[in-house]
Every structure is written in structure tokens, then in C-alpha cells.
Amino acid sequence: MQLIACPWCGPREEIEFSYGGQAAVAYPADPASLSDEQWARFVFFRDNPKGPFAERWVHSAGCRRWFGAVRDTRTYEFLSVGPLSATTARTSVLPEATP
């Protein structure tokens, strides 16, 4: 039962938010040029690390703004929240998942 710090509204109950899954999965620049395999990767495949995970969240019951977060999927603890652009550079903020 998290208290999630919306970058705009401040800390609110988890129930006010919706989960948007992995951050930084960009829509392909030219889907038509992708193989079926590559397209399937974009549509269906997402990382599923056990540990810190760069994610997207939206404050559905509040300001309705999307934001980025790094959250530990073992403890559920939010390690950071911020505008999407800040957390989508996931190679710089996301440590390797520990096995």
C-alpha cells in the first residue's frame, strides 16, 4: 500500500495511480520497416526485472499527468520519481537487475 509521490500533487495513495509498465519503450520510427519479430517485440515484450525498474505511472485520480519512476520490484519501494524525460534514460539510472 504505497504512498506515491506524484511529481505535481505530492504524496498520494497508490489507489489514485495507474501503472503504465516499462518506461522508454519508444514507438518505432517506421513500423512498416520492421519484421514481424521486431514488431512483436515492441507490442508484447517488456522487461520484467527483479529489482529496480524504470516505469511509467499516471496520477489517474489527480492531475492525470504521466511521470517516470524507478521502483524496486522486490520491495515495491519507489527509488525516484520525476518527469518522464528524466527517467526514460534508463541506461543511466537503472542498475542491472540482480538475479
Binding site: M1, I15, D36, V43, D47, N48, T73, Y76, A97, P99
Partner: protein
Amino acid sequence: MTHAGTTAPTTAPTPPGADLPEHQESLWRSAEPKRSYDVVIVGGGGHGLATAHYLAKLGITNVAVLEKGWLAGGNMARNTTLIRSNYLWDESAGIYEHALKLWEGLEEDLGYPILFSQRGVLNLAHTEQDVRDSVRRVEANKLNGIDAEWLDPDEVAKVCPIVNVSGDIRYPVQGATFQARAGIAKHDYVAWGFARRASEAGIDIIENCEVTGFVADGDRVTGVRTTRGDIAAGTVALCAAGHTSVLLDMLGVPAPLQSHPLQALVSELLEPVHPTIVMSNAVHVYVSQAHKGELVMGAGVDTYNGYGQRGAFHIIERQMAAAVELFPVFARAHLLRSWAGVVDVTPDASPIVGATPYENVFLNCGWGTGGFKATPGLGWAFADTVAHGRPHPLVAPFGLDRFVTGALVDEHGAAAVAH
């Protein structure tokens, strides 16, 4: 005014817990890992153990089952033990119905009192669309030779008198599908029964043995690295449920899996009041009454990814509200204990079973909330898959390639409800 709600029993009957069977005197050998096995099964849960059991039946016994913690301590120890096969699509109906048939003979096969009780499952419909989807599923089940009925609210009340079928609740019950052969079993007994048989057949069950990596040679995996040393493997079978992604990341194999907490709870022991199993997707609750008398309930998955084996309490609260709405008699029951498992969910709510880019590594995962009920069926078909090095026809539709071709087996789109 007197309004005594209950009356004292007139005679001193047998104590309610007197007739439950005892566990066996011997279960499984706690084996030390050998250097090498023909088959290494990663994951000592229900699926891993069932696969081992059916491999042994195929004469393959140089097998290790590696469990990172205590045997069957993951989702097997945490599920709500619902068994049914009334799925919509032919592919799902095939594997789950095969499983159900095996369940019906499993007690004998395992020589273990697994307390399989075929008490039927009601899937309630609350809206016009629920009704359409339910009829669709019932008709599909019948054509697939699976027992299924559509019941109107009065018939629902006959099967389960404590369901509130009055028209003045928020989402009145419009009817239900009923599969009479559905049931429950004792999860620990099932796991231990498989483990015992596998162990008797000479298969090594190795606990506290976590896989930390794989040794690959081209498109073959030659062994697994574990916290108890390296183990060479002729074939590797992955049965790690919610932790599959962790293993696949080690192998560099992507899969469309997301691991989520799934919560469940029990009440105290109560006198028999609930003769069947009731599921309601619309109000997110399912409930049965276990052999000793506790109400066992589950809810929907928590929305975010999580490996923490715990979930958020507001989901439990919402589930309690739904339970009391549908079963007014439950108002006074008490929540005794709640817990969570980690379920691996796929985009089409169907499992992923079959080949991987490594020719001798086979994958079994993505069962979401449906893993327990599939246990013997999956174990049987996966053992065959592993033994013959190709997907058994029952699991063939569930390969990873379906996400590329688009041949999904979409089990949430059409109300073949989860759990």
C-alpha cells in the same frame, strides 16, 4: 425479541477435523546434487514436480528438480487450489480438460490423499455482456466435450443457496455457468504426492539450490550454475513461474512476461456453508470452502510488477466488499490470514510452453492465475515435450512464436475468467 442466529448442535458429533487424512510417513529424499543429469528441471513447484513424475513414467529418471527455497513454497503453497477446465478456446480447453481428467485419477496415481473434491464451479454473470460471454463459453465447452451448463438465478441459488440472487443488489446475478466436475484439492498434498513419487523413482529433489546462471555452448545449454555448484544437463526444463524472467534474462531469451503479486486469504474454520466454488469476475472475487472449513478467497492481481510476495490491502478490502455483497452470510466471517504469490502474466492470459532459441531448453511459464489447475496436464504434456524434444500437441499452440504470428489464445478477451 430474540434472534439467535445459530443453534447449538444436538449431539456431540465427530470432531470436524477427525476425518482428514494424515500425511505419508515418508515423502522425498533430500538429495545432494550430482555432477550431471539427463534432465534438469528448474523450479520445484507443482509444475516442476509433476513434470518429474511424468518423466519418470516415461522411464527418464536421471533427473534433478532444483528448488531455490523449500519445495513447493512458491505459488504452489499460496494458491487457492481451484481446478476447472471450462475455458473458452479449444487450445485452452484442451490442456485444462486433459489436466482435469488426470486430476480425476491422480489420488490413485500418486497413492496420496490429495483431497480432490469435485464440488463444481459457478462463474457468475452480472451484466448482459457477461451473459453472452457465459453462454458462448458453455456452448464451446459442450462442443469440446467438457461438462458445462448455463444456470438462471434460481438454479444458481439451488446449487449455492448462500449466493444473493435478489434483483436489488448493485450488480444482480443474471445467471452463471456451472461446471460440475470442477473442484478443489489440497495443494501441499498434491505437491508432496508428486515429489514422493518422483523421489521413489530415483529423481533427485534438491532444495535450497538456486540457479545463478547457465553454461551455454552455441545453441545448446550444457549445464546450470547453482548456489550448490555447477550441474551438467542434457536437457533443461524451466518451471519457475513468477521467477521465469529472472532465468530467461540469464539466458538472454526475451519473453512477454510480467510478474505481478496475486493475493489470497482465508477465514477461520467454519461449519459447512458453501457447497461449491463461486467466481465472479465482474466484482472480482472467488471463493470456496476448504476441507477443514475455512473460506478460501482470491482477488484480481495487483496492477504493478512485483516479486515481493505481498500486495496492497485495498485490494483485499474491495474483495471483502464484493464477498459480503454476493454472500451476505459472510459478513461475520473473519479474515484470518492473507498472503500473496508472484504470478507471471502474458499479453493474452495464456501460458507459454515449448521451445526456446536453445535447442535443449524448454520453457513452461506464463500461467498467470491458472497454474495450479493445469498441474498434472502440464506435467504430462511437458514431460512428453522434454522427452521427445518437441512440443506435445496439447501445448503446441502455446509457443512463444504466437506473439510474432498473432495467433494469440486470448483468454481475457472473452470472459473465460482467470483463476
